[in-house]
């Protein structure tokens, strides 16, 4: 069964990975931009985590606020992507989604900047 699974995912034109790569460029441009920023905040978070594992948690509140800023913006970008995705059933207007996004980010960054210390 395991061999069958690997074959289905990786090999051939109909494998999951190749379908994914070929279909990716077909999704709307806005969503691809959001995906870019999602990757950006993810890798920033990973870098910080590795740093704290190496150096230790001395200014713990600074570490927390830095890490949370990455995680939080990832969540906010992801939720914006969800709301803008045309395939989803719950839809609000694009302007409303974007305005929510701006407001939430404003509050979020305010909190993070104060907690940084």
């Amino acid at each position: 069964f395991f061999l069958f699974f690997c074959q289905a995912v990786f090999m051939g034109e109909q494998g999951t990975i190749s379908v994914f790569f070929s279909e990716y460029n077909n999704i709307p441009k806005k969503l691809r931009i959001i995906d870019l920023f999602l990757l950006w905040s993810f890798f920033t978070g990973v870098i910080q985590f590795v740093y704290v594992c190496l150096v230790g948690t001395f200014p713990f509140n600074s570490f927390l606020s830095g890490f949370i800023s990455c995680v939080g913006t990832f969540v906010l970008f992801a939720s914006l992507r969800l709301q803008l995705n045309p395939g989803n059933s719950f839809r609000v207007s694009e302007e409303r989604a974007f305005a929510d996004f701006i407001f939430c980010n404003f509050v979020f960054h305010l909190a993070v900047f104060n907690f940084m210390g």
Binding site: I33, I34, W40, V55, P59, F63, S65
Partner: protein, 430 residues
């Protein structure tokens, strides 16, 4: 007058201690005036040099009734030398009660016993922590004086760090000739110590001349546990010397200067007891911030603090208080305590004798106190306390821009910049 350290009251009375001391010398009978004339002359000579009057009285019919130690609530005499082992009453009270009151008021006393001493003298010595043995003369077959088989030569002097304050080098150069009743100072007593102990072969013989079989006698009154001259410094810095030998102070043994140091030893011990040397006073335990020099009510954790204190030693020769040099008595320490000492450091001497110590307030907040508790053997006790509250950081006193946190600052700023750029990106793409 009480020699205590620290507050202003102690300051004023400490001045009077160093000045004229009125000494009462109570002798047994007029015969003692002649047999101990050199000792009395030494006391009178010191009093003439260092100020004070000496009043020599003869105790007759076991009484000394007309002597008054305190009149209208003020003490008439500052120190007491009792050369009357058989006296029972003094100044209208029993001798032990009179001596106890006298010492508790901070005055010094010299108690001398003998083989026929009264119970009151024993009790007075026991009140000071020195227990006399039963009335038998101390015998030391290996250290007997050549001219008299009853006199022993004692050379087991107080030694070590505590000796310099009490005995000079000349006093310990030759043995002391001694004849009388031995005593015992409990080793657990922090205030009493022995200036002259018996040698390892000293003992208190029974009536038949043998070593006593009683356990108390073996444990307390044999060998080096036997104390021939005991000294006590009470917590109020009153000094008491107790010895069981009238003969040690007699002219006969003073005269033998070539083989003994009786005269010098007696002079050293009497000077120590009467407050002519090793007398300290301390005042002015002050604290301030090291950088600004400002004294505050409340300090903050991790502040640099400076503690300072003045300690002075009385110089009888110059009749004034000189700055104390701790080389002889050991370094003085200051502690910063809250239930337990958090810091403990030695004082350093400034010029002009001020003691200064620089400490950093610990990382713990609370109500602390600076405590100086100086107990050096032979010198006055110093105990000063000063309460110092220490508060934690205010919200704006924490560290900012910590170097180790730069990556976090960078990530937060970059995330905010990314959000800003994203706004433009998403609004202006089709």
């Amino acid at each position: 007058s009480v020699v205590a350290g620290g507050d202003d009251v102690g300051d004023l009375s400490a001045i009077s201690v160093g000045q004229a001391r009125n000494t009462l010398v109570l002798v047994e009978s007029e015969g003692v005036l002649e047999s101990h004339s050199k000792f009395l002359e030494m006391i009178r000579g010191n009093a003439a040099k260092y100020g004070g009057e000496v009043d020599v009285r003869v105790a007759w019919d076991g009484g000394a009734k007309e002597i008054v130690l305190s009149k209208w609530g003020r003490w008439v005499y500052d120190s007491l030398v009792l050369l009357a082992p058989e006296a029972e009453r003094l100044g209208g009270q029993s001798l032990s009660a009179a001596v106890a009151d006298f010492v508790e008021a901070g005055h010094s006393a010299v108690l001398v016993g003998s083989e026929s001493m009264s119970d009151e003298t024993r009790k007075a010595a026991a009140n000071c922590g020195v227990q006399f043995s039963d009335a038998s003369r101390v015998a030391d077959p290996f250290h007997t004086a050549a001219f008299d088989s009853e006199v022993i030569e004692a050379s087991n002097f107080l030694s070590g760090a505590g000796a310099k304050g009490v005995l000079s080098a000349r006093a310990t150069a030759r043995p002391v000739l001694w004849r009388g009743v031995g005593a015992h100072v409990a080793p657990s007593n922090p205030l009493a110590f022995s200036a002259l102990r018996g040698s390892a072969t000293a003992f208190c013989p029974t009536a038949k001349g043998a070593l006593s079989k009683k356990k108390t006698n073996l444990v307390k009154f044999t060998g080096t546990d036997l104390s021939l001259v005991s000294l006590v410094q009470a917590r109020n810095n009153a000094r008491v010397a107790v010895t069981g030998s009238m003969a040690m102070l007699s002219d006969e043994l003073f005269a033998k200067e070539d083989v003994s140091s009786n005269k010098i030893f007696a002079e050293d011990v009497t000077s120590w007891v009467l407050g002519y040397k090793s007398l300290l006073r301390s005042h002015g335990l002050a604290h301030r911030l090291t950088e600004s020099g400002e004294t505050q009510d409340v300090y903050r954790i991790k502040d640099g603090l400076s503690v300072s204190m003045r300690v002075e030693e009385w110089s009888a020769a110059q009749q004034r208080w000189l700055p104390h040099k701790p080389a002889a008595s050991g370094p003085i320490q200051v502690e910063l305590t809250m239930l337990d000492p958090h810091l403990r450091t030695n004082f350093k001497t400034d010029k002009e004798g001020t003691f200064v110590a620089d400490v950093t307030a610990p990382d713990v907040y609370g109500v602390f106190k600076f405590v100086v508790d100086y107990k050096s053997r032979g010198y006055s006790f110093i105990h000063l306390e000063e309460q110092v509250p220490i508060r934690p950081f205010r919200h704006d006193e924490y560290e900012r821009f910590i170097t180790a946190a730069y990556p976090y600052y960078a990530s937060i700023l970059s995330t905010m910049a990314a959000f800003f750029i994203f706004g433009f990106a998403i609004l202006y793409t089709k």
